[in-house]
Symmetry: C2
Subunit: 129 residues, 2 copies
């Protein structure tokens, strides 16, 4: 018996590229803050702590290109640009929430496991002398 559920992931490049996008450092966070509604560029930057202007621009462009985020420019001075999730973008919220829920639930357990592993490593290194 093979792994039918995972075949697309392993063999099929297109779906893997989608996962690559989700995997980057800021995409999930940006989609997250856009979950509630429209936001201006500066509002997103403020909400996603630590993101640089360059990275936020790149992330939003990629999301727009993939049709997950809609960009609206208001012809004003100074400029006003607002971003919001499209229907497709919103459809990603469910799966993403499943992941973050898992992370929240298992965070402490994983952190403990890391501690134990690192302790064991330290002991082994000492024993090597």
């Amino acid at each position: 018996m093979t792994q039918p559920v995972w075949d697309p992931l392993v063999r099929d490049c297109p779906s893997r590229r989608l996962l690559d996008r989700i995997g980057d450092r800021w995409t999930v966070l940006v989609v997250g803050v856009l979950a509630d509604g429209r936001l201006r560029f500066s509002e997103i930057q403020h909400a996603v702590d630590g993101v640089s202007q360059k990275m936020l621009t790149q992330t939003l462009r990629a999301l727009e290109r993939d049709g997950l985020v809609a960009r609206t420019v208001f012809p004003q001075v100074p400029p006003r640009v607002e971003y919001e999730l499209t229907d497709v973008g919103r459809s990603l919220l469910g799966p993403l929430r499943a992941l973050t829920d898992w992370a929240t639930e298992h965070m402490s357990g994983v952190l403990d496991a890391r501690g134990s592993y690192d302790e064991a490593q330290a002991r082994d290194e000492l024993a090597a002398h």
Copy 2:
């Protein structure tokens, strides 16, 4: 109203670090091929197309450190090492499947959106001359 669901993601570093791990290039694929059961190192490498020995080792070590994968060494010559998901590791399969299902379902739409966006870009660049 704030974004209560996403606050942990944006502000809480530990849970973000968990997502960072999932976001790397090979973790999801390795967890995927281990979904069915125990596998040897070489079997995993064969199943996950394109992964180098170095990256597979690093990925498996990280998963072991986090308690998502169990590593069993058989004291033989030549060595035999088997990997399998722990209970925690298996608990990640559900959320992961939600994501891959989403990717499969929306793949073509996203690809179309990319094509349209790139076309529009090309037109704009031509119009600039």
